[in-house]
C-alpha cells in the first residue's frame, strides 16, 4: 500500500516563500544598483560585490562552525544585507572596511541572535553605524558622481548636499546661498549627487519600492508614514525659518531617506507587526531623522533613527495589537 502523508490542516500552502520574497527585494534593488554603477563606476560594483560575498561568507562560516545550525545562506537575506550595506557606504570605501562592516552586520547584527528573523536591529544598519563611528574619516569621504568611472581609486571627493547645508548653516550662512552649491532637484531625483553608493537616486529607489508594493512584498504603511512625517516635520521648521532649515523636498531627495524608508525601515524582522504599529514606527523614524539632521552632530540621521526605532519595536508590538475580531462590538 502507498505510504500516506498525515499532516495537520491546512493542506494548501501559498506560493510565497522566504527566498522568493528576498530575491524579490534583490530584484527590486537593480535600478538603484544600475544608477550607482553609472555614477560611481567600477568602484561601486566592486564594493557591492565585496559586501555581498563577505556577508554570505560570514553567514556561512558562523552557521557552520559556531551555531552549527542549518545553512541558509541562499535564502537571499544575506544578499540583501550585503547590497544594502554597500549602498550605505561611500563607493570608494577601502574594501577592508567593507569586509569589517559585513562581519559586523552579519556577525553582530544578525547571527548573534540566531540568524534570520531573530535580530532586533537591522543588520545592514548595525554594520553601517559601526563603520560610521569607527572610521569617521573614511566613511565621510564621499566620491562625487562621475559618469562610468572605471578607476577604483582616484574619484574626486567632496561633500554631500547634506554636509554642505550642515556646515554652511553652522557657520551662519543662509540656506538660499548654500543651495547654489547643490545640484538642482532634477539631478537630485536622478541621483546625480554625492553620497553613499546606493542612496543617490530617489527615482530608482521609488521604482523598486513600487515593484515591491505591487508584488505585495512590503505594505505602504512604513514608507508613507516615514516619508510623510519627515516631510511634515521638515516643513514645519522650514516654514519657521527657511534660511536656517532647508525645505522638505530637499530632505526627501538627499541622503539616505528614500533608501531608508523603502528598504531599511521596512525590513520585516525589525519593524512592527501591526498596521498601526508600522505607522507609529514610520512617524518615529521621520521625526528622529529630521531632528538629527537639523540639530545633531551628524548631517545624516536615517541610520540612527531607524536603529533607535528598531529598539522600540518590541514595545510597539506589545502595545499596539491588531484589532481583535469581536473585541469592541459595534453592531448595526
Amino acid at each position: 500500500m502507498k505510504v500516506l502523508t498525515v499532516s495537520g490542516s491546512p493542506h494548501f500552502h501559498a506560493e510565497e516563500s522566504v527566498s522568493k520574497l528576498m530575491y524579490g527585494v534583490v530584484f527590486s534593488l537593480i535600478p538603484a544598483m544600475l544608477v550607482s554603477f553609472y555614477f560611481f563606476g567600477l568602484a561601486a560594483i566592486v564594493v557591492t560585490l565585496t559586501a555581498v560575498v563577505a556577508c554570505m561568507a560570514f553567514e556561512f562560516l558562523i552557521q557552520k562552525y559556531l551555531i552549527k545550525g542549518p545553512l541558509t545562506i541562499f535564502d537571499g537575506s544575506a544578499i540583501i544585507t550585503g547590497v544594502l550595506l554597500a549602498f550605505n557606504v561611500p563607493a570608494n570605501l577601502p574594501l577592508g572596511l567593507v569586509v569589517i562592516g559585513s562581519a559586523v552586520a552579519i556577525g553582530m547584527g544578525k547571527m548573534t541572535f540566531g540568524g534570520l528573523g531573530k535580530n532586533p536591529f537591522n543588520p545592514a544598519l548595525v554594520g553601517r553605524v559601526f563603520l560610521m563611528i569607527s572610521f569617521p574619516v573614511q566613511m565621510t569621504t564621499y566620491p562625487q558622481p562621475s559618469v562610468l568611472n572605471v578607476s577604483l581609486t582616484d574619484a574626486v571627493t567632496g561633500p554631500t548636499p547634506l554636509t554642505i547645508i550642515k556646515d554652511g548653516v553652522s557657520r551662519g550662512m543662509p540656506v538660499s546661498e548654500l543651495m547654489g552649491q547643490i545640484p538642482d532637484y532634477i539631478n537630485l531625483l536622478m541621483g546625480n549627487l554625492g553620497g553613499s553608493a546606493g542612496e543617490i537616486s530617489a527615482i530608482a529607489i521609488l521604482l523598486g519600492g513600487v515593484y515591491m508594493l505591487i508584488r505585495k512584498i512590503i505594505s505602504w504603511h512604513i514608507p508613507v508614514a516615514y516619508l510623510g512625517s519627515a516631510a511634515i516635520f521638515a516643513g514645519i521648521f522650514w516654514l519657521i525659518s527657511p534660511e536656517v532649515y532647508p525645505d522638505p523636498l530637499f530632505h526627501l531627495l538627499t541622503g539616505g531617506l528614500m533608501l531608508g524608508a523603502i528598504y531599511m525601515a521596512t525590513d520585516y524582522t525589525t519593524s512592527p507587526m501591526s498596521r498601526t504599529g508600522m505607522i507609529i514606527f514610520g512617524i518615529g523614524c521621520g521625526l528622529l531623522t529630521i531632528i538629527i539632521r537639523l540639530f545633531g552632530a551628524y548631517p545624516e540621521g536615517v541610520a540612527f533613527s531607524i536603529l533607535i526605532m528598531n529598539a522600540f519595536v518590541p514595545l510597539i508590538n506589545r502595545g499596539l495589537k491588531p484589532k481583535r475580531f469581536g473585541e469592541e462590538v459595534k453592531n448595526g
Binding site: 569589517i100 553582530m108 559601526f130 563611528i133 569607527s134 572610521f135 569617521p136
Partner: protein, 196 residues
C-alpha cells in the same frame, strides 16, 4: 578548606564580571585601556581585601539592624582612602578613572563579599576570598581593557600592535558593551570546557 580553590574560582568559574555580572559599571566605564582596567581592578581589590579584613574583625560588635550601614561606612572609608592616595601618588591614573573610584563604594561585589563572606568567616579566609575575587575582577577588567585597546587603538599597554587607527567604537561606549558581551560568551564556553 581548599584555600587555593577559593582563591582561583574568581578567575573563570565564578568570575565576578564574566559570570556573576557584578560591578559592571567600572568594568565598562574605565576599560578604555588594559592599564586603566588593571588600575581599577587593583584599587577594587585593595578596597575589597581591606574591608573584608575589617568586617571580619568587627562582625561580632555590630547589631544586625545596622550592619549594612556600618559596612557601607567601612567600605566607603577605604574607598576614600584609595581616592586620596591615588590622587596624591598616581595622578594620571586618578584622572582617567575619575568618577569610578568613589563608585567602588556601590560596587555590589565589595558589599556582597563583605556581607556574604567576611561577616561569617575568619580574617584569614576573608583575605583569601577578597584577594581571589578582587584579582578575578582585575583580571576581567584587564582583559576587557586589553581587548578594547587592541581593537580600538591598535595598542596594548601602550605598545603598538598594528599601525594606523583602530576601530573607534571599541574606545567608545558601545564597544565596551559589545566587547564584554562576547567575552562573557567566551567565558561561558571556556567554563563549560573546563567542567567537562
Amino acid at each position: 578548606m581548599g584555600q587555593l580553590k577559593n582563591f582561583t574560582k574568581g578567575f573563570v568559574k565564578d568570575n565576578p564580571v564574566f559570570v556573576l555580572l557584578l560591578g559592571l559599571c567600572p568594568a565598562l566605564g574605565v576599560t578604555t585601556s588594559a592599564f586603566n582596567g588593571l588600575g581599577m581592578g587593583l584599587a577594587t581589590t585593595f578596597v575589597l581585601v581591606s574591608s573584608n579584613i575589617v568586617v571580619s574583625i568587627i562582625k561580632n560588635l555590630i547589631p544586625s539592624k545596622v550592619r549594612i550601614p556600618s559596612y557601607i561606612v567601612v567600605i566607603a572609608s577605604f574607598v576614600t582612602i584609595t581616592d586620596l592616595v591615588m590622587e596624591a601618588y598616581l595622578p594620571a591614573l586618578f584622572e582617567s578613572l575619575g568618577l569610578f573610584i568613589p563608585l567602588i563604594v556601590v560596587n555590589c561585589l565589595v558589599m556582597g563579599r563583605a556581607e556574604a563572606f567576611a561577616s561569617k568567616n575568619n580574617t584569614w579566609n576573608s583575605i583569601v576570598d577578597g584577594m581571589g575575587m578582587g584579582l578575578g575582577f582585575a583580571f576581567a577588567l584587564t582583559v576587557l581593557g586589553g581587548l578594547r585597546e587592541i581593537l580600538g587603538a591598535g595598542e596594548i599597554f601602550g605598545w603598538s600592535i598594528f599601525a594606523g587607527d583602530g576601530m573607534l567604537v571599541f574606545v567608545l561606549a558601545p564597544g565596551a558593551f559589545i566587547g564584554l558581551g562576547y567575552l562573557v560568551a567566551l567565558n561561558n564556553i571556556v567554563k563549560k570546557k573546563m567542567e567537562s
